[in-house]
């Protein structure tokens, strides 16, 4: 008999207006990797939050090692050996790595004070034991997202968790980092007999890592199957209720004028350090240029510089042969640029505003949406909003809903809908499908290709190599603020490109395409 370490019985969670979990029965076996998949908003995170004591279930019971257990706050979960790594980082930027790791379970000195030295030592021991490298002395705000993910896991391990809940841990990781994480997970399960519950949207990861997989749809548990019986098709069908096909996308040849030209661009990063050290490239109409790189190598700074959100130190950017020098984002947009930013919540949207208010950013002073550029003309705006909602399949009861109450995938669709609706010759797109379910990924990819085929020049930054390979005509690799390689898609494998992304190989730029 396999032992069920956790059993959820009849778990129901009602949010105002949303039944996030509907009578869910799920058991987790000791020592397994249990994957949970489902569309955006299916209720995965909510279910896990209930298990971790962050949300109170409206009804239902949790059995821990066979005993009914009330988990009313995370402290109780921690005491039962449950640890959770959240979809969004739960780290305090102003504290050091070590402080974050021990937070809540500090070592004391003289019974009163925090023993910071011991915290550092213990962190170093954890690093040693699990092979997740971090510098305990750095502040969290100074480290990359990949490192932050490691800190999250170390945090959970430090608290002595036997059951690890990982909510989309790979969404922001590079393939290498993902591979590292998986080997750690395998070790934890095999050697230390820990149990892992992992939520992910990437079905290959499910197949590669898990023993069993549960599928959720619209708050209900569709079913749990053994991974060995599963394929991507089966899972996708269970999730979405239909077949999801990643067919090859049809790319048309279009005219090939230069739309974006970047010359010897130098830009400083957040802490004043050089983030880009002289980058040159161009993007032509009807072309998708992908940028591949490990996060934190200057991609974010590049896009911010191109879109006017960051000061340019040296070099020049031309859009349709006009320089962006000294121009603010509005003026750059006027040159024919639209931008899907990497951080949709911080940059791409206003959570506290309605969908329509988010849709009208950028047209609020343009005819016919604003009469004489002053008076907001509601009717065409509302029509536009409804049209975009329909075209981009945003799942919402109405356009007057606040964006914060939407699921991440739907938020992303709003940003894409708005930016694509401007019909600009240049599109700058970053991480278009981060945290988005496969149905939506398929849809967004199609939209991007359509734009390309219509003749837009597209600059695409993504941490997903699959995505880059699927969409791009050409790929640049970037490492430490410099371009290390340039490839026509199809002429290189993922493995090879990894060497360029990590600076292990480099070609002089002329030698590329």
């Amino acid at each position: 008999m396999v032992e069920n370490i956790i059993e959820l019985k009849g778990i129901t969670k009602q949010f105002p207006g949303v039944l996030a979990n509907d009578n869910i029965n799920l058991s987790i076996r000791k020592g397994e990797v249990h994957a949970i998949v489902g569309e955006n908003g299916a209720g995965k995170s909510t279910l896990m939050k209930i298990l971790y004591g962050l949300e109170a279930p409206t009804a239902g019971e949790i059995f821990f090692e066979g005993k009914a257990t009330k988990i009313t706050n995370p402290s109780i979960a921690i005491d039962h050996g449950i640890g959770m790594v959240h979809q969004h980082f739960m780290l305090l930027p102003s504290l050091t790595v070590a402080e974050n790791i021990v937070l809540g379970r500090e070592f004391r000195k003289n019974k009163i004070f925090v023993d910071f030295t011991k915290a550092i030592r213990v962190t170093e021991e954890l690093v040693e034991a699990y092979g997740l490298k971090v510098n305990p002395r750095l502040k969290v705000q100074e480290v990359s997202v990949g490192i932050q993910q490691r800190i999250e896991i170390l945090k959970v391990l430090h608290k002595g968790a036997d059951i690890l809940i990982l909510d989309e841990p790979t969404a922001v990781l590079t393939p290498q980092e993902t591979e590292e994480l998986f080997s750690v997970i395998r070790r934890l399960v095999k050697e230390l007999n820990k149990t892992v519950i992992i939520i992910t949207h990437k079905l290959q990861e499910v197949l590669a890592l898990s023993h069993r997989v549960s599928v959720m749809r619209q708050g209900k548990l569709v079913g749990t199957i053994d991974t060995k019986d599963a394929t991507e098709q089966i899972l996708a069908e269970m999730m979405v209720g239909r077949e999801v096909l990643f067919d090859a996308l049809e790319k048309k040849e279009v005219n090939r004028q230069k739309v974006l030209e970047v010359k010897e661009l130098k830009v400083r990063g957040q802490r004043g350090l050089m983030a880009l050290r002289g980058v040159s490239f161009d993007v032509k109409a009807g072309e998708i240029l992908g940028i591949a790189g490990v996060e934190g190598n200057g991609q974010s700074e590049l896009l911010e510089a191109l879109t006017g959100l960051r000061e340019i130190e040296a070099g020049e950017v031309l859009i349709n042969e006009k320089s962006t020098r000294g121009k603010n984002p509005k003026e750059i947009r006027k040159l024919g640029m639209a931008h899907v930013p990497e951080d949709r919540l911080m940059t791409g949207l206003s959570k506290k505003a309605t969908i329509t208010e988010n849709m009208m950013m950028g047209i609020q002073d343009k005819e016919p949406y604003a009469i004489k550029g002053i008076h907001i003309n509601e009717k065409p705006i509302r029509q536009l909003s409804d049209r975009l909602i329909e075209e981009f399949d945003v799942r919402t009861p109405s356009q007057d809903v606040l964006v914060e109450s939407l699921s991440g995938g739907n938020m992303q669709k709003i940003v894409i809908a708005r930016e694509f609706s401007f019909n600009t010759p240049l599109l700058i797109i970053s991480q278009p499908t981060r945290g988005v379910d496969i149905g939506a990924i398929e849809f967004i990819h199609q939209q991007i290709i359509d734009k390309r085929n219509e003749g837009s020049a597209i600059l695409l930054v993504s941490a997903e190599l699959d995505e880059l390979f699927r969409l791009s005509d050409r790929i640049l690799t970037i490492y430490e603020g410099e371009i290390t390689g340039e490839f026509k898609t199809g002429r290189i494998t993922k493995k090879e490109i990894g060497l360029y992304m990590t600076g292990k190989q480099k070609m002089n730029q002329e030698g590329g395409a």
Binding site: Y52, L54, N73, P74, S75, A77, I78, M84, H86, F89, M90, L91, L92, P93, S94, L95, E99, L103, G104, R105, E106, R108, I112, F113, V114, K155, K159, R268, R271, G272, L273, M274, R277
Partner: protein, 312 residues
């Protein structure tokens, strides 16, 4: 002429003027760290001042006065916490309501308890003790500066250090800061941010109680209507000025006390009182400007240097 203005009593004066500000500001910076801006400090100080007098008068003990002020401070802190944490009300509004409430209640109770309006003083109000360190007697400068202050002057100094250690060296301090910075993150670590917020708002009530009791039993020995006289707001300014760091806030309060004291003295030299009274406020704005400007310049410089080093 300068000698008339700058003398040792100016320092004494500074210390006395700053003490109620320091006490209240230490409370306010705790709530600030926990993510709540408390403009109800003004009212909390006033209530502390009133109940300090009540306790001291009826129990013939200044200690009981302080205790009563503290208990009332805790209750008000709890109410502030309840509305801001539980009901998620706007902290500004709650703060203002507390101020109005304190203004009305103290006048009302002044009349119902002591049968007077406006002010209450009596020899039966036992003042807080003053401290003298005999070993400082011999050194005139230190004698004037550090001797013969009311006990809370010394307590406030100790509290500055305690607050600093508490915030930056103890788990609770870390948790309070975390509760303000990213409450969800703290909660996932098994510590309730709600609890931390309550702790800080109650502690703020206690410290404002101290500030009030000091005002009515240490600094003065009487109660008058509205005797907090905007000290809560100035304490708030000190907190913002001091970036919520106890040491820097202490400095800001002293600075404010100094310029207030200086203003009083400058009148004697013949500057119109309206201008001398402006000094602390103007100095605050100007000092903020200078400090920030310097900070920005410094940052630019280090950036340039780092950049230069980085160039291949």
């Amino acid at each position: 002429m300068l000698g008339q203005v700058f003398n040792l009593t100016l320092i004494q004066n500074t210390i006395r003027t700053a003490t109620p500000l320091i006490l209240a500001a230490l409370g306010g910076l705790l709530t600030m760290h926990a993510g709540m801006l408390n403009i109800g400090m003004e009212g909390m100080i006033l209530l502390g001042a009133f109940f300090g007098v009540v306790g001291s008068y009826f129990f013939a003990s200044s200690f009981m006065g302080v205790m009563l002020a503290v208990v009332v401070g805790m209750i008000i802190g709890l109410i502030f916490g309840f509305f801001v944490i539980e009901l998620k009300s706007d902290e500004f509004i709650i703060g203002i309501a507390i101020n109005i409430f304190a203004g009305g209640l103290t006048i009302f109770l002044l009349r119902s308890i002591f049968g007077v309006k406006g002010a209450f003083s009596s020899p039966d109000i036992i003042p807080l003790p003053r401290l003298n360190f005999p070993f400082l007697r011999g050194i005139p400068m230190l004698d004037i500066m550090f001797n013969n202050h009311s006990i809370f002057v010394y307590i406030s100094w100790i509290l500055v250090i305690i607050a600093y250690l508490f915030l930056y060296k103890t788990p609770y301090g870390m948790w309070i800061r975390a509760a303000g910075e990213y409450p969800e993150a703290l909660e996932t670590n098994g510590v309730s941010p709600r609890k931390m917020k309550y702790i800080s708002s109650i502690a703020c009530g206690v410290l404002c109680g101290f500030a009030g009791a000091h005002l009515s039993l240490g600094y003065l020995t009487l109660f008058t209507e509205n005797m907090s006289a905007n000290r809560g707001f100035i304490a708030l300014a000190a907190i913002i000025f001091g970036a919520s760091n106890p040491i820097k806030t202490f400095g800001a309060a002293l600075l404010f006390g100094f310029f207030d004291a200086l203003g009083i003295r400058l009148q004697v030299v013949g500057i119109p009182s309206q201008f001398t009274q402006m000094i602390p406020y103007l100095v605050t704005v100007i000092a903020l400007f200078i400090v920030t400007k310097r900070h920005i310049a410094k940052r630019k410089k280090t950036q340039a240097e780092e950049g230069a080093l980085q160039q291949p």
